[in-house]
């Protein structure tokens, strides 16, 4: 571990960027989060998270072209770096390990609640 861990929100932001592929920019990520993760995220909150991910080195971004609906303003495209991807895997693994260690009965009990 390199001391940089992923928050829950950061994790789904990274995943959304991966889902969007080449089309990942501020607004599309926000839309993706609203739709697939069913969370009402403001652009401001997303910005905070994205810039933190960038300083951690999990995403990199480059400026792209504007278009009419942005009134010509440039767009920033985001891409998950290799560190980002391995951090995701790490997070998933750690979580899977924990899931696997839960005894079946307790799980059932929880569901049967």
């Amino acid at each position: 571990m390199r001391g940089e861990t992923l928050g829950e929100f950061e994790e789904i932001v990274l995943l959304s960027i991966l889902v969007l592929g080449d089309d990942a920019s501020g607004y599309t990520i926000k839309k993706e989060l609203n739709q697939s993760a069913d969370r009402d995220v403001s652009r401001g909150a997303l910005h905070t998270s994205l810039s933190r991910l960038e300083t951690k080195g999990f995403v990199k971004s480059k400026q792209g072209e504007g278009n009419d609906s942005r009134r010509g303003r440039p767009k920033r495209h985001y891409e998950v770096t290799n560190e980002g991807k391995s951090a995701l895997h790490e997070a998933k693994e750690r979580r899977d390990q924990l899931w696997n260690r839960i005894p079946g009965v307790r799980l059932e009990l929880q569901y049967a609640w």
Binding site: Y27, S42, G44, S51, S69, P74, R76
Partner: protein, 888 residues
Amino acid sequence: MPGSPLPDPPPFYERLFRYFCKDELYLELQGDLDEEFYENYETAGLRHARKVYRKEVLKMIRPSVLKKFQIQQQNTFSAMFKVNTKLAFRNLIKHKLYTLINIGGLAVSMAVCGLILLYVDSELGYDKYHPDHDRVYRLALERVYPDHTSLYAITPIALSKQVEIDNPEIESLTRVFQAFGMTITVENDQYQEEGFMGADANFFQNFGIKLLRGDKQDVLSLPNATVLTESAAMKYFGSTDVIGKTMTSGFGELIVNGICEDVPENTHFDFNMIVPLDLLTFLAPTNFVNFSVHAYLKAAPGVAPETIMEKVDQVVETYAAGQLERDLKISFADYQASGNRYNYFLQPLADIHLKSHLEREHEANGNITYITIFMSVAIFIIVLAAINFINLSTARSAERAKEVGIRKVLGSNKSSLVNQFLIESVVVCIVSMIIGVGLVYLTMPVFNDFAGKLITPEIHQQPLTMLALLAVAVLLGIIAGIYPAFILSSFRPVVVLKGKMIRSKSGSWIRNGLVVFQFFVSVALICCTLIVGQQMNFLQNLSLGFDKEQVMVVDNVFNIPDIETFGAQVEALPQVVSTAASNGIPGIDVAFGMSFRLRGNDQENVFNCTVFQEGFLETMKMELMAGRSFSKEFEDSLSIIINESAAKVLGIHEDPIGKMVTNLAGGNNPSGNCDYRVIGMVKDYNYKSLHTEITPLGIFGHESAFGGFIGTMAVRFNGSPKSVMSSVESIWKEQFENQPYTYYFLEDRLDQLYTAEAKSGDLFLVFTAIAILIACIGLFGLATFIISSRIKEIGVRKVLGASAARVVFLIVSDFNKLIIVALVISIPVVVLVMQGWLNDFAYHISLGQTWISFVIGGVVALAVGWTTVSYHSIRAAVANPVKNLRTE
């Protein structure tokens, strides 16, 4: 995008974002916002897009997006703030007496304001918990008689029903027959129930009183159903799980069909048990003329009360006119031509408690005048406290002048000094506010007790109120601090550091003005309090036309088989002077209405009527102007006694005895016209509240057709009330062991009728005392200032041979001028305000009689002023002049 031009995002928010967003992020983030805006515009429309845009911009206000606003300046500002706050606290702690007076005065006045606001809020909150209360109106009546006009809260039982039937704009109607006394039997135990009320079956649908058991729709739909309040259920059955249990009343057996909460305090009526209106058989359901029930109409949404009123007038003409014509045998047009009118009007439900003072209200209502008076007192008290603050701060200018001088020399500029003083005063205000709120919590139980209220302050549960209070404190701090702040910070360092005193002409003008204002308010409040007291005293000592002292009243003699025997037994008691029964006690019970006409004259007159047993007039010590009282020696079944007003209306004032009057058929006289001979004329006595004037009254004897109405017995006694009460009780218990024994003492009960006024008067007195106290604190501060600036003058005078008394007189006479000016200004204001208040009473003192209040008010103000000032002036005057003169 082809065609129509695209709309812009909200311009204000666009500019706002531009203003606070970091420059390097602006273009991209604005692009995102725009993209989302236009997409939302196309999918969900402009409104939605704008809404989302606004939300998004506001949510952008976060550290990662916000521009750094001139960090340098921010740091010095917060550092200054810290230092100033610390200095403020140090200063406050250093001058303990000053701080105590200042914060104490402010805290007390804030607490008083808080209490007043809570009181006013609770008074204004009456009847607002009923569903759709803003559409509910009570039908009330202005009844114009040829000789007078009366306002009634009650209306004929059939009239409002007909109005509802004829009028689709009325959603529903609930009629209520005011709570009255009733004997209740539960499993062989008898109780006297004073809150027995009748209501239409939809009562619980239209009023917000919650049902704990039973169903709103049909809880009163059984003909003999009853609903008990929680406490009544506990009283009768010891449990609230009593659905289906039975109890016996004067209207037969009742089945408990529901339990409701106790009637909330903020309701203009009260009851303990409620029965269907139809059960009250004495209310003839077809009566369109005689008033009996409170009618509450709920208008359909959007219907103006005026629309409904048009229909009411039609119903009067169609139905009431017919009944009147049948009873009186004259046409409705003639009846109206002789000066009779039924002017119905609607009162909004929530206005009843404060604005309605008609005859036959459910209970004594509050008074909107008191609300305005209390609110103005609250404002005055806060203003007084703020003025104190100004006076005390400027008074200390001499002490602080050096501090200001040093600070200026060290490079402080004026605005930072102003800041310092403002922060100091804001700190004082916030601390006072905290203490004041604490005081409100502490004094609430006492206040509730005093004002007869059940208020719970809930400030700790309302963050918004807390914020508002904080804002008020800050605002007050700024307003009160701004004048001293500018005065103190404008000192010229060279002058003050040399030790010269600062004295400006304009400054003293302002300070004197403030003191005059404070004394004006105090004197006005003292005078108002005294006048209120005079009026209350007047009412209590007003000749009622009968003697209320030493009279015990035994209620419920309806139920006993032989009143005369019982009366004779009571009269045989050594401490009893006389006894006699009546249908109701003057000032307390109702007199019923009937129409009369002088024989040979076709002028109708409506009289209130009452029934006296032989000897009642004498027992109550009423005065006969002419003729005789009822007597066993005469056959009095067709005799009537009238009061002076009635004689005047009939035009037989000069010689009433032996005249014949006809009692016309009507709701209360179903047996038809009947002639009575006038045998006596009684001096007008107050049979109604002192708020209303005496109107014509007819008195029937025990042997007349109305003899059956007799139901209360007055017992005039000598000696201790307690022994009479218990002796009569033992006779009662012996004879009617199953009947509850209920009694009261007339004087106590009559005084209770004016408790609303008496209570408000007491509250007013307390607030006045506090206002005066606060004004004195201000004067104290001013005296400190004036004397400290004249200390050398006093020293020189003493050296030159002036006596201490002479010096004190000199200083005090300065203040006298201010107080006298205040007194002169306050007189016209008080006269104006109190004139209005006094006019609310039918019987009131004339303003000429109030001169004594002004004299006392002025003397009190002068005395208080002297005492306050003399502390400082005597101290300065007796001090050794050497000490004062050496300070240079």
